[in-house]
């Protein structure tokens, strides 16, 4: 069997990470193909619901990335995002979703190489974690337990 190829989605801000990924391109830095990029104006725009949705769509890992602190194009979107993620991560941990599947990183427009590394590292880390079984299994837990509940 061929090696498990994780599906990775990257939610990135337009001004830093998207541009950093552009730079990786112009510098022809090669990295893993597994990643699909969704562009946002700013990390502040990234709704935690979209992360859930991505898992639901079959993502095995998620990269969330934007401007370094103090560099946000809108001055503070990333600071708000940082708090939101901190709390969200704790919630996922508590529920038992492996929060290592979400990788947060600051990648500036000048860090093409960092972007490439980030993708590669994430791919290999998620490859080690294996497929995101939890969500996939959920789809199979078809009927809920209400039946049992009513019965007893």
């Amino acid at each position: 069997m061929s090696e498990f190829e994780p599906k990775i989605v990257a939610f990135v801000c337009n001004w830093c990470t998207y541009a950093g990924a552009d730079l990786a391109g112009t510098s022809r830095i090669k990295y893993a193909q597994n990643v699909r990029i969704v562009r946002f104006p700013c990390t502040g725009r990234i709704d935690f619901m979209l992360l859930l949705k991505a898992f639901e769509e079959g993502a095995d890992g998620i990269i969330v990335s934007g401007c370094h602190p103090a560099d946000c194009h809108y001055t503070s979107g990333n600071y708000h995002a940082r708090r939101r993620w901190m709390v969200f991560k704790d919630l996922l941990d508590f529920i038992g979703i492996d929060s290592r599947r979400i990788v947060f990183s600051w990648v500036s427009a000048a860090e093409g190489a960092k972007w490439a590394h980030l993708v590669n590292d994430t791919v290999s880390e998620i490859r080690n974690l294996g497929p995101m079984k939890e969500y996939k299994n959920l789809e199979n837990v078809s009927s809920n337990k209400i039946g049992e509940l009513i019965n007893d």
């Binding site: 935690f48 859930l52 708000h80 704790d90 919630l91 508590f94 969500y135 337990k145």
Partner: protein, 267 residues
Amino acid sequence: MTELQNIAKKLFDDGSINLLIGYSNNENGGTSAIFIDNSADIDKLIYNENCHQNLMVYFQKPEVKKFGKLAFVVSLPGLKSVLEIASENQIKDGDAYFIAIDKDGNPSLLQDFHQIEDFITNNQTKPPMGLLKLMEKINNMTREERWQYWTDEFSKCIKCYACRSVCPLCYCTQCITDINIPQWISTESSPIGNLDWHIARAMHLAGRCIGCGECMKACPVDIPLALLTANLNKSIAIHFGDEPGMKADYKYPLSHYKLEDKENFIR
């Protein structure tokens, strides 16, 4: 006449209020909310350890609002929700009177947020042991066990939204679950839909939940909902040092930030 009834009567007599929301005995031997709009009914007003419902949930209801001058019988959690919704621009100082029940069951009349803040500071209680124990137990599980635990719990959810309707902080006119463009959360009680709902609910209450535990008591299938928000509040207290429901001018931690916020989880 009890002290509680005395206070209530006085409020009616001097014309301070048109509606009082408190507790009375019900025919099942329990207690339930009673809406008193004239002082003749005051003898039905009671307070005992069975009176747990957070009556502040009624504050935002238009049917209640139209009475104008209001009074609520509230214990500690209720008062905390007053301050929390005050910080969320939903209630102004002077919008209502509060007959506060202290930890010994004695009533007193509170009129402004300042008095409420003092009352809360002086009447702090520890969260119920059972909840803390369960929280610890879950935190000590392996991740796989936790996932199993919660999928089991969530799979019971029938999406009745009782948790939402008893929550004094779920006052949105449009809840995210009711939106269909886009359909953020699937409406059926499917495993994924349930998970999404409970995560969304917890996130929306993170740093806002004042821990009255009503959601858990209302849940017909006994999902320990309050754990999710209690655990989140714990992380918020650790990360940002904030606690909801203590001050009327509370700054919601998720819409403020500090430059030095922790970021050791960010690469």
